[in-house]
Each structure stands twice: as structure tokens, then as C-alpha cells.
């Protein structure tokens, strides 16, 4: 037993050393070299959320001998437009990239573009959420967004002893948020003493979010839980609670791990945050992409284990899990943030 954990430790140290060594310009050359671009397509590209994931992709790429630079290989509209994403994917196909990792803005808009890419032999992997037609991509990686709601919902319900009124700040229409909100709604429905108010739309706008949260607090004096399905919603809820003088009286559950939100957790305004593992999700996605391109998974033989033959080489859904951040561990996250 002890020997086994020692072995793990040694392995870990070795990997860590590798990581340190690969941090520089020197990259290890793996057996299979990808000569070309792996592109990452997102949406609302100017929000800081993507940085962790991009770091993960860069780290994995360095390890796999792939050139990936967030200033060159990161694409996407500055808004939530699915049709713009589709156009960009089409253009990347025309450009002749080797593989595309995409965070779809919605379930459907990029289906035709992904179909087209796959037809041209360019693998599509989605991160954060999947799409309505699984035959148009290899697989999806991310925290099960529904489970985010389950985790956060149970956490909050326990704190209020299964009794109270819950407000949810979200962005309806964006699948990720819809799934998280549904997770919360369905989890909280299991507690007969809890009433969930209709969903509130923040439009991903901090000011609007705060204004709507404040209105919610005012209209419902007995409100004791506020939930944000993203960092904007969580931070907006925190500011509204603070201004209403209800810190401690309302349990606030946020999402992700922005600097703002971590500060609110440390101050005790936000009770907890459910964070997806952005770095490792995208780190894994890059690896999946490499394995597909290098034809590493040969369940029925080389070159034929493929979506086209209805034999997907990678799992259709890989749940990369979540982390719950609260006062007990928030310092670790703040420290991690300051290191970047």
C-alpha cells in the first residue's frame, strides 16, 4: 500500500519535473507529429473566463508538440452568435486546419458547419457543452452542467435546512446555463420546503444582473438563497445582497472562480461557488484531439476506429467534474490566481 503511494508520488514528481522542463521553449517531440493548426472556437471571446482553458490547451499542446498560441489559434465572435461561429468553422475548414475544438454557442447553429468539417476529415470535439446531433462531432468534454446544479442545489438546501425561497440568475437560451438552471430547479424540487422563483435573466451584464437581483430581494423579503449560473450572476447577487444589508441572511451560490467572486467568498458575502475544471477540461480535449489525429485508439484496428464508421474512438460524454469553493478552501484558489 505504502509502496504503491510512493510509486504514485515518484511518478507525480517526475511529471511535475517534466512540466517544469516543458514550460520553456523546449518541447518534447512525440512519436506522431501534427503538422498544422488545432483551432479553438469559443463565443463571448473577450470575457476572462476562457483564460484558464486556454492555459490548459497551451500546456497540453506544448507537451504533444503542437503549436497552439492563444493569440493565434483562438477564434470566435465577441458576442454569443452561433451563426458567426458557424462561419468561422467553415473558414477554418477552408483554411485547412487539422482539428477544431469548439464551445458551441447553442445546440444547433453550428451543426451544418461541424458536419462539413467532419466530411473534410477535420475532427470536431466540443468542450463545455455538446450539441443536438452527436453524429456531427467526436465527443464532448466538460462538467455536466446539470450536475453543477445538482451539486450547488444540494449544498444550498443543506445550509437552509430544506426551507425557503430561491432566486436563480441565469442567461436563458444559452444551453450551458439552461442545463445548470435545470439542475438547480430539479434538485431543489426534491425539497418540499423550498420554493424556486421564476428564472431571472442577467444577459451576462453585471449591472443588469445586480439590478434584477436587487429587485428580487426587494420583492421577496423571505428570499434566503440566490444562485448565479455563471460568475456574472454570482457576483451580481453578491453586490445586491451586500447593498440590501442581507449578508449572512441570504445564501449566495456562484459559479466559476473569478477574482471578484473569490473575494466575495473570502468576505463571506458569497457562500460558495461551483467551479468547472476549465484547465483540465481543455487539457484533456487537446489530448483527445491528438489521440484521434494520431490514430491512437485502435479498438477494431488502425485507421478505422472512427465516427464515420459509427465506432467513436473517444467517449461521447466525458464529465470532467466540478470543484466546490467555500470559505474553507478559498485561499488556495486566490493563491492560484495570483500565481498566473
Amino acid at each position: 500500500m505504502q509502496r504503491k503511494s510512493l510509486a504514485v508520488l515518484v511518478l507525480g514528481l517526475a511529471m511535475g519535473l517534466c512540466g517544469v522542463m516543458t514550460g520553456g521553449a523546449q518541447t518534447r517531440t512525440p512519436a506522431f507529429a501534427i503538422n498544422g493548426e488545432i483551432a479553438y472556437v469559443a463565443y463571448y471571446t473577450t470575457v476572462p473566463y476562457w483564460n484558464d482553458g486556454l492555459r490548459g490547451m497551451e500546456a497540453a499542446a506544448a507537451e504533444l508538440g503542437i503549436k497552439f498560441d492563444r493569440t493565434k489559434n483562438f477564434y470566435g465572435p465577441t458576442d454569443g452568435s452561433g451563426s458567426e461561429q458557424a462561419r468561422i468553422i467553415d473558414e477554418l475548414v477552408a483554411k485547412g486546419v487539422k482539428g477544431i475544438v469548439v464551445s458551441p454557442a447553442d445546440n444547433n447553429s453550428i451543426l451544418s458547419a461541424c458536419e462539413n468539417a467532419m466530411k473534410h476529415g477535420i475532427p470536431i470535439i466540443t468542450v463545455i457543452s455538446g450539441m443536438s446531433n452527436p453524429s456531427t462531432y467526436y465527443g464532448e468534454l466538460g462538467a455536466s452542467n446539470f450536475n453543477v446544479g445538482v451539486t450547488g442545489g444540494n449544498y444550498a438546501a443543506k445550509l437552509v435546512n430544506g426551507k425557503g425561497k430561491v432566486g436563480i440568475l441565469t442567461i436563458p437560451g444559452v444551453p450551458v446555463h439552461d442545463q445548470r438552471a435545470q439542475g438547480y430547479v430539479q434538485t431543489l424540487a426534491k425539497y418540499p420546503g423550498i420554493k424556486v422563483l421564476p428564472l431571472v435573466n442577467t444577459d451576462a451584464d453585471p449591472a443588469k444582473g445586480q439590478e434584477r437581483a436587487a429587485a428580487l430581494i426587494q420583492a421577496n423579503p423571505d428570499l434566503n438563497v440566490l444562485i448565479g449560473t455563471d460568475s456574472v450572476g454570482g457576483a451580481a447577487a453578491a453586490r445586491a445582497v451586500k447593498e440590501a444589508g442581507k449578508v449572512g441572511k441570504i445564501v449566495v451560490i456562484g459559479m466559476d472562480r473569478d477574482k471578484d467572486l473569490l473575494g466575495y467568498i473570502k468576505d463571506g458575502i458569497v457562500t460558495a461557488s461551483v467551479a468547472s475544471k476549465s484547465f483540465s477540461t481543455k487539457w484533456m480535449a487537446m489530448h483527445y484531439m491528438y489521440w484521434i489525429l494520431a490514430d491512437k485508439m485502435q479498438d477494431i484496428g488502425p485507421g478505422i476506429t472512427d465516427v464515420a464508421n459509427k465506432i467513436p474512438p473517444i467517449p461521447l460524454v466525458s464529465d470532467t467534474g466540478t470543484m466546490v469553493i467555500d470559505k474553507s478552501n478559498v485561499d488556495l484558489f486566490i493563491k492560484a490566481l495570483s500565481k498566473k
Binding site: 493548426e37 467553415d90 477552408a94 447553442d106 445546440n107 444547433n108 451543426l111 444551453p175
Partner: protein, 329 residues
């Protein structure tokens, strides 16, 4: 008369080359060529490959149609901020009807009607109640957007029937049918705009509505019609794009109206009315499309997109102010 007869004025067009070069369209065209050459070099020849060019025709032609309606309105000295919302509203209406079992033709007519309804409302508020079009269409922009959200319950409507999806994939001469439609519209309307009497009158309305009404030009009716035309075109574009993205999203095309208006201004349409051309607006839109395409081909960080776009718009605004100023001298 004792005064010596002044020599009869010369006919227009005695120096076609000079007047051609003085046109805004030429400037935009030159700018386009410059960008195209830059892209071709910077992308190692990827830009001019037919695969890349066809992406732009395939994805952007429906939106290019929308700039035609906006151009008409800008010439008539009116704004239409509601187009992008109308696109989403019409697309959502059609999608909702499709998934609720209406026949395809009926659903498409329903979507078109929804759009024209908004256009009719715009026309009514602007001409009958004399509310400035900027405010009117700002209002209907929110109304139509909300309409789309109500119809979709805030979520994209997917699962559209195969025959509707196939509509967006029909090709004529190897090109998307709506691209052919765009080319035909641009050619025909560019010719007709200064030739067809009703279209020609738009310039008079936009230049001086009062004076136009005093020479028997029914400016109210023209303005109202133009709002309906603009919304109708937006509805067509919205429905095509719904078919192309297999779904109708309530947040689709948000804030795109500014891009479309910017395209027209870049192409020489004046914010103060009375000026503009279809071909100019299309070239302006193409400029915006090329910027987007170049970002992907060269791999420029999305953070830069609005800087580049904003700079080109600023240049267009300066050109507009300069040419207007020179005219007023």
C-alpha cells in the same frame, strides 16, 4: 433681354473617369482590393481559394440582403435599428410554426408576415405619429427581440423538419440560391435606383422631405413602404439563416443592426439622408466580411476585431463628414 445669353451648360458625364473616381464606391472598392491583396499574401494564398470564397457567399449573403433595405431607408433619411431583431423574430415565428405542425409554406409566410408587421408598425409610428425613426425602431428593436424570446421561451428552437433545412442548401449553378438572389437584386436595384421613378423619388424625400411634398412626391407613403420593404428583406434573411443554422435562437443577430448600418455608411450612404447606393452598401458589407474572414485566415486574436472594425468605420465617418463639408462650402 439685354443681358448676353449665357452659354448653355454642358451635359453631365463629360468626364466619366473623373466622376467615377470621385465616387465613394470606388474608394471602398480600392480599399477592398487592398485588403484582398494583403489577405492573399498574409494567408499564403488561402484567401482566393474557392473554398474560402464560397464560405463567405454561403454564410453572409443573407445578411448582405438586409443592407439593401437599410440603404433605401438611409437615403430617405430614416434609420432602421429593428432589422436584426426582425430577423430573429421572423426566424423564430417560422421555426415555432414548423415544430407545431404547420406546413412549410404556411410557416414561411407566417415568418414573413411577422417581420412585415414590425415594418408596418415602424412606418405607422414614423409617418403618422411623427416619431423620429431612431426612437421608433429602437423601440421595435426591443419589441421584436422580446417577441422572439416569447415565441422560443428563451431557448433555441431546434428539431426543424428536413425539408425546411434542405431549403438552405439548394444550389443554383453551384452557388447557394440566395447568393444568386443577392447578385440579381444588387444588379437590378443598382440599375433601377436612379432610373425607376418611385425609387428615384427616395432621394428627393431624403434630401428635403418638405420640398418633396411640395412637388407632389408622397413622402409619407414612400417612407412607410420602405420600412415594410426593409422588414420584409430582414424577414427573408432571418428565415434563410434559420434554415442554415437548423434552429431559431432568440439571441440570434443581436447587435448586428449596427454592423449593417455601418456597412452602408462605409459604402457612402449618408446619415443625413439623400445619399447612398446599393452597390456601395454591399461593398461596405463585404469589407466587414473580409475583416472577419481575414481574422480567421491569418489567425488574429478576436480581441482585435472591434478595433479594426471601429477604425474602418471612423475612416468612413471622416470621409462622410469631409465630403459633406466640401459640398456645403
Amino acid at each position: 433681354m439685354k443681358e448676353p445669353q449665357s452659354s448653355p451648360p454642358k451635359a453631365a458625364g463629360d468626364s466619366p473617369l473623373r466622376s467615377l473616381l470621385a465616387r465613394r464606391e470606388m474608394i471602398v472598392l480600392l480599399l477592398l482590393l487592398l485588403i484582398a491583396v494583403t489577405l492573399q499574401v498574409a494567408s499564403n494564398g488561402l484567401f482566393l481559394q474557392s473554398r474560402n470564397l464560397s464560405v463567405m457567399a454561403d454564410r453572409k449573403a443573407p445578411e448582405a440582403l438586409v443592407t439593401i433595405g437599410i440603404t433605401f431607408l438611409l437615403i430617405a433619411n430614416q434609420f432602421d435599428l429593428s432589422v436584426a431583431s426582425v430577423m430573429a423574430f421572423s426566424g423564430a415565428t417560422t421555426a415555432w410554426m414548423l415544430v407545431n405542425g404547420f406546413p412549410m409554406v404556411v410557416s414561411i409566410l407566417g415568418g414573413l408576415a411577422a417581420g412585415v408587421l414590425i415594418g408596418c408598425l415602424n412606418g405607422f409610428l414614423v409617418t403618422r405619429l411623427q416619431i423620429p425613426s431612431f426612437i421608433t425602431t429602437l423601440g421595435t428593436m426591443y419589441i421584436a427581440r422580446s417577441g422572439a424570446q416569447v415565441i422560443t421561451h428563451g431557448r433555441p428552437i431546434g428539431g426543424l423538419p428536413e425539408d425546411f433545412i434542405a431549403l438552405g442548401k439548394i444550389q443554383v449553378f453551384g452557388l447557394p440560391w440566395y447568393f444568386i438572389l443577392l447578385v440579381v437584386c444588387v444588379l437590378v436595384l443598382t440599375f433601377l435606383l436612379k432610373k425607376q421613378k418611385s425609387l428615384y423619388k427616395i432621394f428627393f424625400v431624403g434630401n428635403n422631405a418638405k420640398a418633396a411634398s411640395m412637388v407632389g412626391i408622397r413622402n409619407m407613403r414612400i417612407t412607410w413602404n420602405l420600412f415594410m420593404v426593409s422588414a420584409f428583406i430582414a424577414a427573408i434573411a432571418g428565415i434563410i439563416l434559420t434554415s442554415k443554422s437548423y434552429s431559431a435562437s432568440p439571441i440570434a443577430f443581436e447587435r448586428m443592426e449596427m454592423r449593417y448600418i455601418a456597412a452602408c455608411v462605409i459604402g457612402g450612404a449618408s446619415i443625413s439622408g439623400g445619399q447612398g447606393s446599393i452597390i456601395g452598401s454591399i461593398l461596405g458589407f463585404l469589407l466587414i466580411v473580409l475583416i472577419g474572414n481575414g481574422m480567421t485566415l491569418i489567425g488574429i486574436s478576436p480581441y482585435w476585431e472591434n478595433v479594426i472594425f471601429g477604425s474602418i468605420l471612423a475612416i468612413a465617418a471622416i470621409a462622410d463628414a469631409y465630403s459633406t463639408g466640401r459640398r456645403r462650402e
